[in-house]
Structures are given as C-alpha cells and as structure tokens.
Amino acid sequence: MADARWHLIERLFHEALMQSETARDGWLDAHCDDAGIRVEVRRLLAADAQLAQAPLLEAAVQAAARDVAASEVTSSNDARVGPWRLLHELGRGGMGIVWLAERADGAYDARVAIKLLRSTLASEELMRRFRTERQILADLDHPNIARLVDGGTALDGTPYLAMEYVPGTTITAWAEAQGLGLEARLQLFLRVCDAVAYAHRALVVHRDLKPSNILVTPDGVPKLVDFGIAKLLDATSADDTTDLRPMTPAYASPEQVRGERLTVATDVFSLGVVLYELLTGTQPFRKAGDDASSARQRILTTEPPLPSRLVSGGAHAPGRHVDAARLVGDLDTIVQTALRKDSVERYASVERLADDLRRHLDGRPLLARPATPWYVLQKFVGRHRATVIASVTGVALLVGATTFYTKSLQRARDVAEAERVTAEQTTAFLTDMFRRADPTRARGETITVRAALDEARVRLATDLTSQPAVRARLLQAMGVTYRNLALFATADTVLRDALSLYARLEGTAGGVGTASVLEQLAQVQVARTAAEGRVEEGRAFATRALAIRERIGDPLPLAGALRQLAAFQLQTSLDSARAAYTRALALQQRALTAEHREVLTTRYSLAMVALRQGRVQEAIDALREVHVTRARVLPRDDPQRGESANLLAGAWAQLGQHDSARVYYEEALALVQRVFGPEHVETADGLHNLATAVQAMGDRDSSIALLERALAIRRATYGALSGPVANTLMTIGNAHNIARAYRESLPWYREAITVYDAVLPSGHRSAYYPRFNLGIALNSLGRLAEAETVLREALRVAETSGGADAHTAPMTQHMLGEVLRGQGRTREAIAMYKTALDRLVAVVGPESFRVGHPAEALASLAAERGDHAEVVRLYRAYWPAVVARFPDDAAGLGTARSRFASALQVTGESAAADSVRMADPSIPSPR
C-alpha cells in the first residue's frame, strides 16, 4: 500500500467520522473519486461502528489470554456441549473451533462435528437468527451436502452448531493426492456444482465456498460443509449485506469485498476460484505477502492470468495431470466467465456454469462467449474508474453551472424564474436517475452509471416533452457523461438532440446553451479524432461555438471556446493554435489570478505549441514555471502535475538532455503509479516515456524491459491494432537502433508501420516516425535503395501533415542526403543536405544538435573535394551545433575537429588551427 494512499485513507476516515452517520456515504462519494479507496474507508468506518458496540480487540486479547491460561492449568476429559460429548479438536478457523463429538447420552451412535462459534453478536441475537435459519438449513437434504444436525447454546452461553461429520480432505488436496486428470477433476467439480445448485433452488446461498469447505471422503464423495453458516454469522444480516463478514479474501467475490448484496452470483464466483485452483494449482487472486487490503484490491481490479497460460508455464503441480492445450479456449472462457468482476456478466446460475462444463466435456459449443465488445468496453471503463466518477461529477457540475447562469443572467425576473424552475427540474431528474441506478446508493460503479443513463434516455423520450429547456439540459448532461464513459457515438447522438432543442429555444443565432452544446460536441470529436479523423467536423462545431461566444462577449467562456478551437488547430496549423491560445490567455488573465488552474492550463498549451514549433528553450522556460506553480498550488497527486512533468521531460529530450528528461519522466511515472496503480494505461504511458529517456542514455536492456511492460498494458487496453501499441513497438525498435543493433530493430518498425497504417487516417503525422527510423536502420545496414524508398515516404508524410513537428521534414531530408551520399549520388546529396540545413536553422536555430548533422555532413563533403574555405565557413557558422551533434562520440568530434583544424591551416589561419586542436570550442569564431 503506497504511503499517499494510506494517508489519504486515514484522512478520509477521520473526516468522514465528523459527518453525521447518515451523511457519510454521500460525503465520501463527493470527496474521493477512487473507488478502491472508498471501499477501504467504508470498511474502516463499518469496523469503527462495530467496535463501538463490541470492542473486538480487547475481547480478542482478553479471550486469547484466557485460553492460554486455561490450556495451562486445567484439563478435563468430559467436556460437554448440549447433548454432545467433545472428543477432540478437528480444527480452528475464522468462525471458531471445530470438535469431533458424539452423543453423550448414547441415544444413537453418530459422530458430529461441533462448531463452537465465535461471533461478535450477542448470543441471544445469534440464537434468534439461528432458530429462523435452522429449519431452512436442516431441510437441505442432498448426498453432497453435510447436514446440520443440531444447534444451541452451551452452558456458558457459547453458541454451537452440530453438523454431519465428514472425514475427508479438501477437494484440491484430494485431486492432487489421487493424481486426478483433467476430466476426473471436472467430473468431481460438477458434483460440487450440482450440490450448490440444489441449495440455491432451496434459496440458500453458501457465501463462503472454498476448498476447506468442500471435502472429499476417502471413497471419493464430495461433501459441502458450512452451508449458509456465513449468513447465520453475519453481524448485520437483516439485509444480506455487511462490511465485517468473516469471509476468506482469496475466494471472496468483488461484491462481497465491497460489502454489497450477496446472491447466487457470489457462489458462482467462488466456484470459479475453486475451479481455477483445481485446474492450475494456483489461486487466481492470491499473491505471496499480501495483506488483506491488497488481496481485496486485487479481487476488485485484477484479471487473473488465463488458466491455460499458467499451466503451460509449467510451474505448477497440476501441470503433471492437466494438459495446458486442453485449457485453451473453452475452459479458459468458462473460468473467465465465472470470474467476471460484474456479477451480471457471470453465469446467471450454477446450473449454467455446470452446463457449459458438460458441453465442453461433450465437445459441444459453449453458451458463454469469449470477451464481447461490451465486456471489453466495460473493462476499459473499469480501468478508468476515475473518469467514470468524473462523469458523475460532470453531471453535478453541469447542474451547478445551470444554477450559476440562472443567477448571472437575471435579465428579467421571469427569465430568471424560468431558469430556476428548469434548474430544479433538471436536478430532480438527475438525482432520481442515480437513485434508481442503485438501490444501495450509487457507489460509482460503471455498469450502474451506464445503466442509469440508458434507462434515463428511454424515460426522457416520453417524460418532460412539454419542457424543452429541461430536456435539452438533461440531454446535455447525459451526453457529457456518455463521453466520459468513452461511449462517443451515443454521446454524439444525444448531444445533437440537445443541439436541435436549443436551436428551437435560442433561435438560429444561438445563445449560451447552443454554444455549450457545440463545445461539448467538439470535444466528442476530439476524442474521436485519433480513431476516426473527425477533425473537420469538430472544428466546425468549435467555430460555431466561438462565433456565439464572441457575440455574447463573456470573457471566460470565450477563452474556453478559443481553446476548444485551438485543440483542432493543433492538428493542422500550429500558428493558428498559438494565436488562439495567446488570446485565450489574455482573456483569462484579466479575470483570473496568475496561479489559477485554467490560466496554467492555457500556458501549458502555449508551451506545447512552442515545443512543437521547435522553440525548445522557450518551451522549457515556460513549462518550468507552469510546473513549479502547479507543484505549489495543486494537490500532490493531481494528474496535471504529471502532464507538465512529462512535457518538460520531452522538451529536455529534444535538447538531447536525457538525464534531465529522465528525472521528469520518473516524477511523472511515480505520480501515475500512485494514482492509478501498476496496470493502468496512464502507467503504461509513464513507463513508455521513461523508457525513451533511458534508451537515449544507452541502457537498451532497461529500456526494453520498461517498454515490454508498457506494451502489455497497452495491448490489453487498446487492442493490438491501435496507435499507442504502434508507438511502443516503434520505441522498442528505437532501443535497438540506438544500440546500433539495426537488424533487430527492423521487424519492430515494420510492425509499427503496419499497425499505424491500419488505424490512422493517411497522412497522419504519427505514421512518419517509424518510417524515418526504419530509414535510418536500413541506411546503416547498407540497404540504401530500401532506405531511400522509406525515407521518401516519410518525407511525404512530414510535408503534408501540418501537425508534424517543424524539424521532421528537414531531418528527413538530411537522412535522404546520407542515403544519396552512400549511393555515390553526391550532387543530389549536397543539395538535400543544404535544404535540410537551411530549414533546420530556420526552425530550431543555428546551435541545435539537429543542425549539426547536415552541417557536419556538408563539411566533410567539402573537405573531400578540397573546398577548405567552405569547411571553415560551415564550422565557423555551426560549430556549437556540430559539438552538440556528437554528445557521446569523442572520436566523431575528434575527426570534425581535425578536419576543421586542417582547413584552417590550409587557409592560412595557423593560430586558430592550433586552438581548435587544443579543443577549445570558443576559438573558431570569426576574426
């Protein structure tokens, strides 16, 4: 558990305690948007409440000590509980001690297992509940379920249960001991399923299924013990939910961990865990050294590895009996389906689970399908829980904004009144929407938010038809939420509906409502841009919104509209984007303090434009200020702090200062890992970025290790055919290139190009980089014709993509120069180098290491043909750039230096030549 997380939990715990008990849930939802942390805080609050009634710890310490004492000083051969004589202890567990016992009165000859229950409940309460449950449990009559025989309280008040005694071992141990093969394991498991299904039909949920509750007798009969006992012991079981249930974390379901209502789906999940363990010998959610909190966290967030993958790893005992190839496909799917985080996605019943297992054994197709697009989407949203919470917050903000406008407009009393009514109705509808979403109060779970939205959409089609203003606002709120859930197409549809309503309400010229919907529509297009190239449409929305905002003239919304438009201009014209941001900044600075978040955001955008236009130092200076200010005014874990750290690192990297870049990338990575955890896409970005700095510093192995982690996360999140995956593929290629292992880099670049071409609109700037780098690799391998083809393609992309960084096209020309030179086409090469040089000087300045590349190439060509004056001229003009071009290459720089010196010597400048030989870079300035 990270330190920050711990302190946050502690702080929220104490602050929540200061709220009234009924207000705590809502307070927590509003003050913490990390669902995992909320679960922890809620558990602590529940524990705190329980402790107030039953001081667990004192009691436990006390009782433990008493037991130690008793064991030391006394003994008895005739301990009795009710009509039972205790024979010997069988085991101990979370619920208490289990004894083997027989009838003391010899009434009949039966042995039972007596459970002496430990419970925080008063024994009267437990007994009251026991009486109501006993009949139900006693009626469970199934050959594979151990019967409940009797129950009551002992003389000292300790409650006990007498159960059918099952002399057996746990199902997993038995399968191992017998060396059962796959089929026998499945048959055994199916008998367990049948027993659980029987109990479910009798409306009894086990709630604590695990191998130690599934015993197998010596003659191979599986028996389930402790059916329904977990519920009996539940401290607050009136409504089937509790936060302090003695569950076993390794086998608990997500809803159990969250303390939500438990249904048959919980048993399906636990059976899934048992099946997983039977097939692989490993518990899916267990890791050595876990504390209970990490174990719970894992159940909520981690997808366990597929059983087949685990078995094929060969590390596990059942590998001897279970063939990995047989797990691939069906059994992987069955286990996955049983273990879905969302109970709705699991098998609807144990029968369905058993049915699919039988289908597999018979070779028939399964009813469960492997991951559907919906499931994938859900996983995506699950990983973006923060966003989902943000979406709920987004709705709240919108309602807030509505009220704000209500107040600020007040042109006429009736308008204001109408607005107020609209705002109230909007709020009421939304509140209702979320209340319906989850009867136990929404805890920010994805599925319920989406379900609520879908339901609300349907309802809205018939509700409120006479109130277009309310409907428009609701559609808008829902559109924003859909967008935040990454359901862009739906968001688009809903927002367009809102737009047409506003068109009727506000006329063709449009007002605030129209403008805000247009901006939201533009934002949806931004999100769709990468995938579908909706730049033009988005820009059209943004432009229309801007026109309305200009007319109204409110400075802050106007700045917002300018920024929205600039987001599109970034793709096409950096100069226009710069102008828009500059104007937005001026507007904001008039109304807001210099440290305001929005002001910093705009300044950040301007720095980004400067960086992409090649004004690196300017970008760094600006970014440093933004970063330092954000560090001062924003919370420690604010994502914007990671954002500016990242861009700063990128800027330093452009200057070739990879050690500085590394420092900032590490800062950013630490932040995202703290906030999002190790498997999140943001973490993948951080890993990827850090890898680029590490590889530039020459550590190929570390770099590739980081990149492979990033690649795995990105593939799992975005799919194999996606821009981020292509980017990481390319960067792995770069790691090889930098280590001069050019042959090894080729396949990575080729794959990156294939993936990019599959997902990007043609001419997108991202398609440029792998081509350029592939060109470098091919050139270095002497495959010049191929290199030329690839580089010319790269150049075409760089020239046509307005959003490409300014130095890309001339750097490509430089590389083409190298290839031409290698082919002996010297004249063409010189022309190419010269163009590259001039253009680079114009965009990155005469001292950039980039300029050093063509300058050095031209100088060496001039030396070859004996044009010493030209050598001197070039070096005089670009010597710092040439030095920067050889950062770690003393030999290369030495060659340049002696070439420079010789040229100076020949042209009659002996003194200057000596200085150059003495390696003092300050000397070769013009006389």
Binding site: M1, W6, E10, F13, H14, L17, R43, L44, L45, A47, D48, L51, L56, L57, E58, A59, A60, V61, Q62, A63, A64, A65, R66, D67, V68, A69, A70, S71, E72, V73, T74, S76, N77, A79, V81, L86, H88, E89, R92, G94, G96, I97, L116, R118, A154, L155, D156, T158, D243, L244, R245, P246, M247, T248, P249, A252, D291, A292, A295, R296
Partner: protein, 205 residues
C-alpha cells in the same frame, strides 16, 4: 481489563519455571540508555522485565490462587517499583510502561505459539477445554492480531505502538501521550484509526 491480568497471572503461574531478575541498577541503567536513544538498551531490557512480570504473577497466584484482582497496570507498576525503584523520574516510568507493553505482548504471543506448536508437534489429542469460553479464546487469534500489528507497524509504526500500549499494558490515553510525546487528541485519533484498521484486517483473516 481485569480478565487479561487474571489470565496472565494464571498463564504465568502455569509455566512454573521462573527466572530471577537481574540487579535493579542494571534496569535503571538500561532504561536510561534506551531513553537516551540506544535501541539496543530495549533489547537488553526486555528479558529482565519479562522475567520480572512472570515472577510477580507467579507469586501473586501462589498467594492467592483465585486472584482476579490483578490489573495489568498494577502488575506493570509493581514490576517497575521492584526493578527501577520509586525515585526514578516520571519520564522513566512511562518508558518503562512502554517496555512492559511490548513484553506483555511477547509473553502472550510466545505462549500462543508454543501451544500451537504443541498441537502440531505431538499429534496427541489435547482435551484441555473444559470451559466453553474457550472458543472465543483462540490462540491463533492472538497470533493473527500480532501479525496484523506487525503489518500495521510496517505501514505506520506509531499506530502499532499506540495499540500495543493501550491493549497490552492497559495504559490510559494520557500515559500513552506521555510515552510517545503526542497530544492526547492525536493518541485518540491514532487509536481509533488503528483499532478500526485491525478489526477490518482481522475480520478477513
């Protein structure tokens, strides 16, 4: 916590074997060293206090077999007087209480562990449970608490110490504040959070 002390007395008496305490001035010296920041002082101090606590409990039980009056603080206080003497500073006393708390915890955990080892090792059936209060008194529980406390300490040392002082030596909030040089309000907060954390942690063991 009367029953804790009672139990402790019984437990200690039951072991039968008693070590004698070292010379008193040893304890004072070690206590001073520990107070001055010598962590090794604590390590050398513990065995002395351990032996002394057992000796006192043993003696009390011998004189009064059904003793139920033995309070942990009284026990600890007597050990203090015997080992250190009445004229030691107040700060010395609170530090002694801290040592005693750790010692208490160790005594209980050691016993629980020994018992568990017996059960596993001999394979013989122990019928040692005449009182049905026993199921509430699961030694595994104590080990679980101890392990949870170790985890808590790894996360937040101070909270674990607050729990130790409170629950293993029965110190008042004031005394804990004194030992740890905290405000009483802070001790209260720490204790509330730590206890809830442990309860939540233990509920899923």
């Amino acid at each position: 916590m009367p029953s804790l002390s009672n139990t402790l007395a019984l437990t200690l008496a039951g072991r039968g074997q008693v070590m004698t305490a070292q010379a008193d001035d040893d304890v004072s010296r070690l206590l001073l060293a520990w107070q001055a920041g010598d962590e090794g002082g604590l390590e050398r101090l513990l065995p002395l206090v351990y032996a002394e606590l057992r000796e006192i409990a043993h003696r009390q039980l011998r004189n009064e077999p059904n003793a139920i009056t033995l309070q942990p603080t009284a026990l600890v206080h007597e050990a203090y007087l015997r080992l250190v003497g009445a004229d030691f500073t107040w700060a010395g006393r609170t530090h002694f209480l801290a040592v005693a708390a750790r010692t208490m915890r160790r005594i209980l955990v050691d016993q629980a562990r020994r018992r568990r080892a017996d059960r596993r090792g001999s394979g013989a059936v122990q019928v040692t449970m005449p009182s049905l209060a026993a199921p509430q008194a699961d030694p595994i529980d104590l080990l679980a608490i101890d392990e949870a406390l170790v985890r808590l300490a790894a996360q937040d040392e101070r909270k674990a110490r607050v729990v130790e002082l409170r629950h293993f030596a029965g110190l008042t909030l004031e005394e804990i504040a004194e030992v740890l040089e905290l405000s009483i309000a802070t001790v209260h907060r720490e204790l509330r959070f730590a206890t809830s954390w442990l309860a939540a942690e233990l509920s899923t063991e």
